[in-house]
Structures are given as C-alpha cells and as structure tokens.
C-alpha cells in the first residue's frame, strides 16, 4: 500500500480521507444552493406576488444564518481551518440582523468618523439614513455631493456613555409611554452641554483637518443623520442642521444636532409614528456649498403621479429656506420624459436672500431689483437636475424629494435625498386587463423571473460583455448570459433580460438587491428583441410588451408606494439589505478575501469559490488520501487513468476485485464521468495519427513548459454525481471538476487547460481555440497565454451532461493541436471544424 501511495505521489493531510473532505464539499455546495434559494424566496416575498407576515421574516433570518454557519464550517473542514475568521464575522452579522428585527439596531463599534467616499447603504446603522443615501448617490451613482464625513452613531453612544446619560434615557422612554415628555427635555439640555469624549474629539478634529484646502476658508454644514431618517420614515425637518460652521465651532454644532434627537418636535413625531425607541444620531459634516441658487426637486407630483411632471422649487442663495418653507420659491414644472422640457415657470419675489457670513453663521441680505422675474436656472440646468433626480429615483426605485444647490462655479450638488410620499392616483376608467390586451406581446412566460417589477426602456443588446461602458441610462439590457459583472450597470439600466441564467444565481441576487426587473433564461431574448426597440418589461407576470404601457407603469408606482409602507415589508427589506448585497464579485480581484466579506452573500460566495479551489488544489498538489481504493481504468484510450471512488462512482462489483485489479469502463457509475468518457471515446476524436512537430519549437518549449511532464498519473475522483478528473497528457494538463445531478443549482463544470509541447505562439493559439469553443458552448471562459479556465454553472442536467460530453471530445480533439496552429486563421478553422463535428486534423 505504501508503495502504491508513493507511486501515486499522495500524502495524507492530517490523516483525513478525501471522501470526508468531499462530503464537506458536497454539503457546502448544497447549503450554498439553499442560501441562494432562500434569498430568492425572501426577495420574491418582497415582490407583490406574495403575502407574508412577521413570523416569516424571523424564520428566514434564522435559516440563513444557520446555513451560513454550516457553510463556514464545511469550508474550514476542507481547508484545514484556513478561514476561521469567517465564524465571528457570521456571528456579528447575525447579531446585527437580530437587533434590527427586534427594533434594536446594533451599532458596529468601529469608526467614529466615516468619510463620504467610503459610505454605502450597508453602513446605515453606523452613519444614519441621510448619510447612507448620500453616500450611495456619490459612490454608486457618481453624482456630486459636497465632500465631508459623518460622525457615527458609535460616536453618539460614546457621548452618551461619557456623560452617563444611559439610565436617563431609559427612564425617559418609560415615562414617555405615560405621556410625560419632561425627561426628554432634560436629556436635550444635557446633550447641549455634553462633554465630548477625547477619542471622538480627536477623530472629528482629524476629519475636519483633512477637508481643509490651503488658502481657502472652510465652512461646514453640520446636519442630522439619525438612524431611520430619510429611510423608511422621513423625519423631515424634525432635527437640527447648523450651517456655515467654522471648524473651531464644529463641536458646538455637533452637540446642538445631537440634542435635537430629544427635541419636542422629534419626540412628537416618534409618538405619532409609534416608534419604540429614541433612535441613534449620526451627524454629517459637509463642506458648505456657497450656493448662488438652491432648492428642492420632486421627481413626481406627489398628488398626481400620473401627470408625468416634476417640480423644481428654486431660491437664490442658500438651500435652507427652500426646505424650511420660510420664503417663496420660484417653481419650474418639468416633463419626466426626456429631454425634460420646462412646461411652466412661475417666478417668486423675495425681498432678501440668505448667505453665509465670513465669521460663521447666516444672514439675510436685500436682493437688488435686477434678478426679479428672470429665471434662476437655465433650461439646461433645469434639465440636468431632472436627470439627476430620475437617476436617483431609478436607483432607489421610488419617487424622490431632493435638496440641491448650485455652487458659484455652476456645479450642481445633491445635499439630501429621500423618498417622496406619493398619495396615489385615481383608478383608470378602463380596467388594466383591457388596456393590456391592446398592447402587442413580444415575449410571454419565457424564462424565469429573477426580480419582479415593471419597467420600460429601449432594448440594448450586450454583444460584448466587457463593453459595459457603452450601456446608457434607462435601457432594457438584453444579454446572452447572466453574469454578476453586470453589477456595474445595475444603477443605470431599466430592466435585464438574458437568454441563459438561473433565478438563484449571483446576478439574479444582485438584480434583486438593485431591484431591477429581471427575467433570466429566456432562451432567445437576444434574437427576439431588436436593438433600440421600445419595450415594457412586466416581470410581475413575465411578459415583455412592445412600446410603453403607461397604465402598467403607473399601477406599479402606486402599488409599490402603498405596501412598502407596512412594517412587515420594512422588516423584510431591512433583512435582505443586510444579507444579500454582494461585494465580492470577482474571484480574480485582490479584494476577494475573507476579511472583505460584509454580508451573508459575500460569505457564501467566498466559501464556495475557495472550496472549489481547495478541492482542485488537493488534486493538483497530491494532498489526497484514500488511494487504497484507486483502480486503473482499462479502456481503449491510452490514458493510464486511476479512479478513486468516494461514493457510488463505481459499480458495487468492483469492491470484490482483488487489490490493484483494473476495472473496465462498464464499471463506471459516475454520471459526470460517464459523460466525459463518452466524449473522450467519440469516434475520430482521440486521434492517434502522428502530427508533424517542428523540432525547433518543440525543443524551445521543452525547456520552458512548467507542467509536470511525467505520464501515468492521470486521476479521476468520482462519486455518483461528481468527478474531478486530472489528465496530464504529455506536455499539457486538463482538469475537470464537475457536479451533475437533477438539481440544476448544484450543477457545475470547471475546466482548466494549460501547457503544450510547441512554442508559446502555437500553444497560445491552441488555448484560443479551446476558449472559443468553450464560449460557443456557453461556458464563461478566460484565457491567459496557454492557460484557459472555464466555468459553467447552474444549468439543467441534460445541458450540463452534454457540455461534459463536449469537454471530453475537446480534450481528445485538442490533444495534438498545438503543433498545427500555424496561424490564427488555421486556429479558427479548427474551431469551426469541432463545432460541426469534424475531428480530422488536416483542416
């Protein structure tokens, strides 16, 4: 036995037999699928197709974290505890979610100040609603906001601790229940005089210093960003903002904003909305925009959303008057449809405007007679604001209410954005079914809905998946296959349709995160829909209509508005926001690391990728035990293939054979291995005729090829539904790792090819042939010189089986091809020949 092990070159890893490691791998794959399925189920419930309750939301959270823990355990069992840091990460995420569901948000005790460039929605507990939204606007949509940072809710907790306010707050909460607001007032006063802890003070001082530009005076806008503010509830105007603050006065302004958490108005608002706690206050410190003009923007008419109009309120000077309502605003009515023409303008006259003082604070100065009656904005500026508003609306999937300002240099900044409360619209006189009957249906019931919703736009075919820069705003993106790389356009597209893809895949999860109506696996969307064609995608009912179906879009807007306001919906959305966003999209990126995982989705994506890699590496490095069950496969091909059965991969009769006895191909019971074998044995594919080798290139390569050149070490690890095949064919190396069963979500094929006997140009051309063929077979393939890595995931059983069979043929066909790669044209001929079933080598 030890001789056999030595011959196979295997070392046992801590004495753990491979079949145990493989059992962990299978479990991990199963649980990964179950998590994705839960994401899909929960996101589906979020759509208007389901009715659910609070009990359901809690049970989803429990299941998700149990599965995530098991996945981390399985990964670490395979990888020898290499990724143990994932355990505390999952525990932390679980505590945060449970806190959210119980109405007790958990504040990460990490940063005291967070620069806006690093803020996104996942940090909402740390930076509050207003800052989280603005952070998304800046980092995801790249729309200008004034620079700055947010003093976190953790800093607020530090202030509360330092000043011993915890017990007071507890008492105030109890007394508020009996209608006594006095203790709140006391806390408000205490916060106005609160001592700011040294660490918080230092963090703020450093953050302010980093905003200073030499030679320019710095003024700050210090604004509230309470947890929940501008989120599900607006808290509009309930908290304090302090403007034109000098750096030295930032601490006073900070205290004032903190204290407003307990001001009369905010407490009354909380009582009216039946909010169980006082919440937490983060404070945004932004560079003060010295606005020449500022105002508000409603992306829809809140009372008549069907009017297709946007409202701009404009005032000269700073924006504070626009929102507070203590001055008259000039109003612009703009069309929601491009190019957003100005439909109406009404000038307002104000005797004075508000400007910032050089010593800090604000002052009103009289307005001269000149500007009266003259529009404050040019039509192109009004249009630019409309475009900004609609981009934000599309991203947040809801009509928005913005505050904005135009700097003296003409730059338009978004100061704040929140959901616009739309009160509804009268029902159309004609019923919706009758309206829909009048529209031509282009696709109906094809594929699977990955994210529900209704959207409209012009078709854009993504012919080159790497050319995402060419995807313009508001298009219906039609792609051959679903890919998580499309995440970079998800803030701009109206809907996504793909020929290939699974509703439980990563892209589908991303589409739900960004709430892009998406239908995957449509089969022929790329050929059914024409470039530039105007369509309405109804991903509620899986229908694509020709043209714009206004009634459907309108119904969607009102419907969303109504049920999104319910507590159950908010809970589910908050849960999904915490668990489903995927940051780790590219396994080749430097950021694909355990410490970069921020959500459950990141964790399972990372774990799956690493587990596959570990299993492959175990074979590549020979770190596998269990060689005692290796059997030589005695077939017609000169492969010298050893087969290790780790579970029903070989016929039961094999067990009674003497040790070391060979087996026949008829004994194979592994479904993916049988598919590969059938491809390898296809007549004509395993070409044994000698191929003319150029000895000069051969010798050149013989000194540079790095793959293991010894033969006789080919290996297949098999079970009934799994194969890991390592084929060292002289000078090049094929590796296939595949899982094949009836559950399409568990199916995968990973193929790697490297090496060759000829010079690098010939080898690269052969790799190019392999990549081309694999792409034609719907694999996602990457090539670097003579290395090709290809993946196919989540395809139905029959399709996965046929692709494995094709890989078998490809391995045989390309075995001696490098010597024949005289030109690119010759290479392409071999691609065509293979695809039409011609395996002769004299193309």
């Amino acid at each position: 036995m030890s001789r056999l092990k030595k011959w196979l070159g295997f070392e046992e890893r801590s004495g753990v037999p491979f079949r145990f490691l493989f059992a962990h791998f299978r479990q991990l794959v199963d649980n990964n699928t179950r998590v994705l399925q839960l994401f899909t189920d929960a996101a589906e419930k979020q759509s208007c197709e389901y009715v659910f309750d609070r009990t359901y939301v809690g049970s989803v959270a429990d299941q998700l974290f149990d599965l995530a823990n098991r996945i981390v355990y399985d990964l670490n069992s395979i990888a020898d505890q290499k990724y143990a840091t994932l355990y505390p990460l999952v525990d932390r995420l679980r505590a945060e979610v449970q806190g959210d569901l119980a109405g007790r948000p958990v504040v990460p005790r990490t940063d005291l100040c967070v620069p806006f460039g690093q803020i996104d929605e996942s940090q909402v507990n740390l930076v509050g609603g207003k800052s989280a939204h603005l952070g998304e606007v800046a980092t995801r949509l790249h729309i200008p906001i004034p620079g700055g940072f947010t003093i976190s809710t953790y800093a607020y907790l530090r202030v509360v601790e330092e000043n011993g306010l915890g017990p007071l707050i507890e008492t105030a909460l109890n007394q508020l229940a009996s209608g006594d607001c006095q203790p709140c007032q006391a806390i408000c006063e205490r916060l106005k005089r609160a001592k700011i802890p040294r660490d918080v003070r230092r963090a703020i001082t450093a953050a302010v210093a980093s905003m200073k530009v030499s030679g320019e005076p710095l003024f700050l806008a210090v604004r509230s960003s309470a947890l929940g503010e501008d989120d599900e509830l607006s808290f509009a105007g309930q908290f304090r903002s302090v403007l034109q603050v000098l750096p030295d006065a930032v601490f006073d302004a900070y205290r004032e904003v903190l204290a407003s958490l307990y001001c009369k108005e905010a407490i009354a608002y909380r009582q009216a909305r039946k909010l169980p706690t006082f919440g937490l206050m983060a404070v945004a410190c932004m560079r003060m925009v010295q606005a020449s003009v500022a105002g508000t923007l409603h992306t829809a008419d809140p009372n008549h959303p069907e009017s297709q109009r946007m409202h701009l309120g404009v005032t000269p000077g700073l924006a504070n008057r626009a929102a507070s309502g203590d001055s008259r605003l000039s109003t612009y009515e703009l069309s929601r449809d491009p190019p957003h023409n100005v439909l109406d303008y009404r000038a307002a006259e104000n005797p004075d405007i508000v400007v910032g003082r050089s010593q800090g604070g604000l002052t009103a100065v009289p307005l001269g007679p000149e500007p009266h009656g003259r529009p404050e904005l040019t039509p192109s500026e009004a249009r630019a604001l409309a475009q900004i508003g609609l981009r934000i609306e599309r991203y947040f999937k809801h009509a928005q209410e913005l505050e904005w300002a135009r700097d003296t240099d003409g730059t338009l900044y978004v100061l704040q954005t929140r959901r616009l409360q739309v009160v509804g619209t009268p029902s159309p006189r004609t019923s919706l079914p009758e309206i829909l009957e009048r529209h031509r249906t282009l696709m109906h019931g094809q594929g699977h809905v990955a994210c529900r919703g209704v959207s409209h736009g012009r078709v854009h075919h993504l012919t080159d998946p790497s050319d995402l820069a060419a995807v313009s705003n508001g298009v219906v993106l039609v792609a051959r296959r679903a890919s998580p790389r499309l995440v970079s356009v998800m803030t701009r597209v109206a809907a996504i349709l793909t020929d290939i893809g699974a509703p439980t895949g990563h892209m589908a999860a991303l589409a739900r995160e960004f709430r892009i109506p998406t239908i995957v696996d449509c089969g022929n969307a790329t050929s059914r829909l024409e470039e530039g064609q105007e369509v309405t995608v109804d991903a509620d009912d899986n229908i694509v209509y020709e043209g714009r179906v206004e009634a459907l879009l309108q119904q969607q807007l009102v419907e969303e508005t109504d049920f999104e306001d319910t507590t159950e919906y908010r809970l589910l959305r908050r849960l999904l926001r915490r668990v489903t966003p995927l940051q780790l999209v590219d396994p080749h990126s430097e950021d694909f690391r355990a410490d970069r995982c921020r959500t459950v989705h990141d964790v399972i994506r990372f774990a799956h990728e690493k587990a596959v890699q570990e299993v492959i590496d175990l074979h590549m490095t020979g770190g596998v035990s269990g060689a005692e069950s290796a059997r030589r496969l005695d077939g017609e091909l000169p492969l010298n293939l050893q087969v290790i059965d780790i579970g029903q991969g070989l016929d039961v009769s094999v067990a009674s054979l003497p040790t070391g006895a060979a087996i026949k191909p008829e004994a194979l019971r592994s479904a993916p291995m049988l598919a590969l074998w059938s491809g390898l044995c296809t007549p004509g594919v395993w070409n044994t005729q000698p191929v003319g080798v150029n000895w000069r290139t051969f010798m050149a390569s013989a000194t540079s090829v790095t793959v293991n050149r010894s033969t006789g070490r080919n290996l297949a690890v098999v079970s009934d539904s799994y194969v890991n095949l390592s084929l060292n064919l002289g000078y090049h190396y094929n590796m296939v790792d595949a899982f094949l069963c009836d559950d399409r979500d568990a199916n995968h094929v990973y193929f790697r090819f490297v090496g060759g006997a000829s010079d690098s140009k010939h080898r690269t051309r052969r790799a190019m042939v392999i990549r081309e063929i694999l792409e034609q077979l719907d694999f996602s393939a990457r090539q670097s010189a003579d290395l090709v890595v290809a993946r196919l995931r989540k395809r139905p059983r029959a399709e996965t089986e046929s692709r494995l069979e094709a890989i078998g043929r490809l391995i045989g066909f390309t075995r001696q091809l490098d010597a024949l790669m005289h030109s690119e044209l010759a290479a392409l001929r071999f691609v065509d020949a293979f695809l039409r079933g011609d395996y002769t080598l004299d193309q």
Partner: protein, 132 residues
Amino acid sequence: MARLSILVVDDEPIVGKRLKPALTKSGHTVDVVESGKEAIRLLARQAYDVVVADIRMEGPDGLQVLRYVRTNSPRTAVIMITGFATVDLARETLTLGAFDFIAKPFRLDDLRNAIQRATERLVGDGGTPSSR
C-alpha cells in the same frame, strides 16, 4: 376571467395592500377592511362574490365573519387565510362552510386560483357575479 366583487379582511395592513392592486390588475373590484367588525358592517350593506378573511383578528375574528356570510349571503364564497395553519383549523373552517383555506405566506396565484374556482362554482350554481 369574470369580474368579481371581492372583500378582503385582514388586520395586517400588508395583506390588503398586496391583494388590492393584484386583484384589481385582474379586473376585479376590491374593498379592503382591517377588522371583522368593519367587514360585517360592509357585508350588511352590500353583496360580495368573494370574501377573503384572515382567521386571527381582534374583535370578531375570521370565523365569525365566515358564520355571518354563511347565514346572510350563502352564495358568497369565503376564502380563509392564516399564518398559523393547522390541519384542525383547516378542517374546522371547511366544516363551517369556507370555500377554501390558504396558509401564509402564500402566492397570489394560489389565491387567484381559489377565486377562479369560486367563479366556476358561482356560474355552475346558476348565479352570476354580482354587479356593482
């Protein structure tokens, strides 16, 4: 599908807010109330083809609404929904004359199918959907 008049009764607002637009999109006329008391008040004033009622509610619960409908408007189909489904509860509601019983969370299509069957029964009984 025939255009029906439907009353939805559930004390969790999300139910009505989901059901109303969905059933309206199918062409039905839908009223939503959040208590058994309001439901009975409405039922006393007008006839509905279908009543969709949650079982667990404060005050008159879904079963009381069901009894009221069976006594006062026997041709109305009552579909019971609940987040606490048990076989016994399902049996009890069906014994009391409920047309169907659906556990939460459920797909709107499950409800649509139940409504479709209710329509077929209405037509089979020689009745026509009530016009409003």
